[in-house]
Symmetry: C2
Subunit: 110 residues, 2 copies
DNA sequence: TTGACATATTCCTATATGGGAATATACTGA
DNA sequence: TCAGTATATTCCCATATAGGAATATGTCAA
């Protein structure tokens, strides 16, 4: 079996570096496809394909205005990622505490 | 060009559902491979392969004890994911505020 | 209607994958 | 040394890419 489709969920969609760049770029305000290409220095067909993937998983939304199509990031679709990674926060905080304690003990002993 | 390797970075490694399950399972405490297989109901070769991917990107660490190899999640390797998704927090919070305001205005008018 | 701009789609291809099955390796205890 | 347990690796394969190039679709303005 191959890898799950990029459109199967948000985690697969954001695995690609360019798509993460696009999401960050479109978070502040909506932009036409052309701006994405120009500002991120990516070929237009590539951008259109990435945007399609992002749209299919709900990570971007669109609005047509004449010839242009404006895309914007739908930030809330990233909440599952944020929440999932948050599950691990206590563990790395605990880890940091341990490292710190060890360092302090070490400093005291020596 | 195919998709980037699953071992190319943390984002690609966690795209797979089973690997996310394994990370959650190994976050609390270290476990031998067999426990992962049994508790997550996954075939052993599959688990070994997933663990290899996770280890290559630093998401798990190992300790050998006799015949067994204990794996544990290295939570801090997930910080980049958490931090990246945090960039979007202000946007979905803003969005929620807007929705709320709109609802309240609507309620007042009607 | 036609030309020009904006975006989307189609074709093509090399490649990494995840699963299943079989097998190899590593280590222990008798 | 050998059997047995624990884990890792190898083989095989169907499949979904991402990129580049070419082309199609859509929309406006004159």
């Amino acid at each position: 079996m191959p890898r799950a489709a990029t459109t199967s969920d948000v985690f697969n969609a954001i695995a690609e570096t360019s798509r993460r760049s696009i999401l960050a770029y479109l978070a502040e305000r909506e932009r036409p496809v052309n701006d994405v290409c120009a500002d991120l220095n990516l070929p237009q067909p590539s951008v259109s394909k990435h945007l399609k993937v992002l749209r299919e998983v709900g990570l971007v939304q669109t609005r047509r205005e004449g010839r242009q199509v404006f895309y914007r990031t739908n930030a809330s679709a990233l909440r599952p990622v944020h929440e999932w990674s948050s599950l691990f926060e206590r563990y790395w905080l605990r880890q940091l505490t341990r490292v710190k304690e060890r360092a302090e003990r070490g400093a005291g002993i020596r």
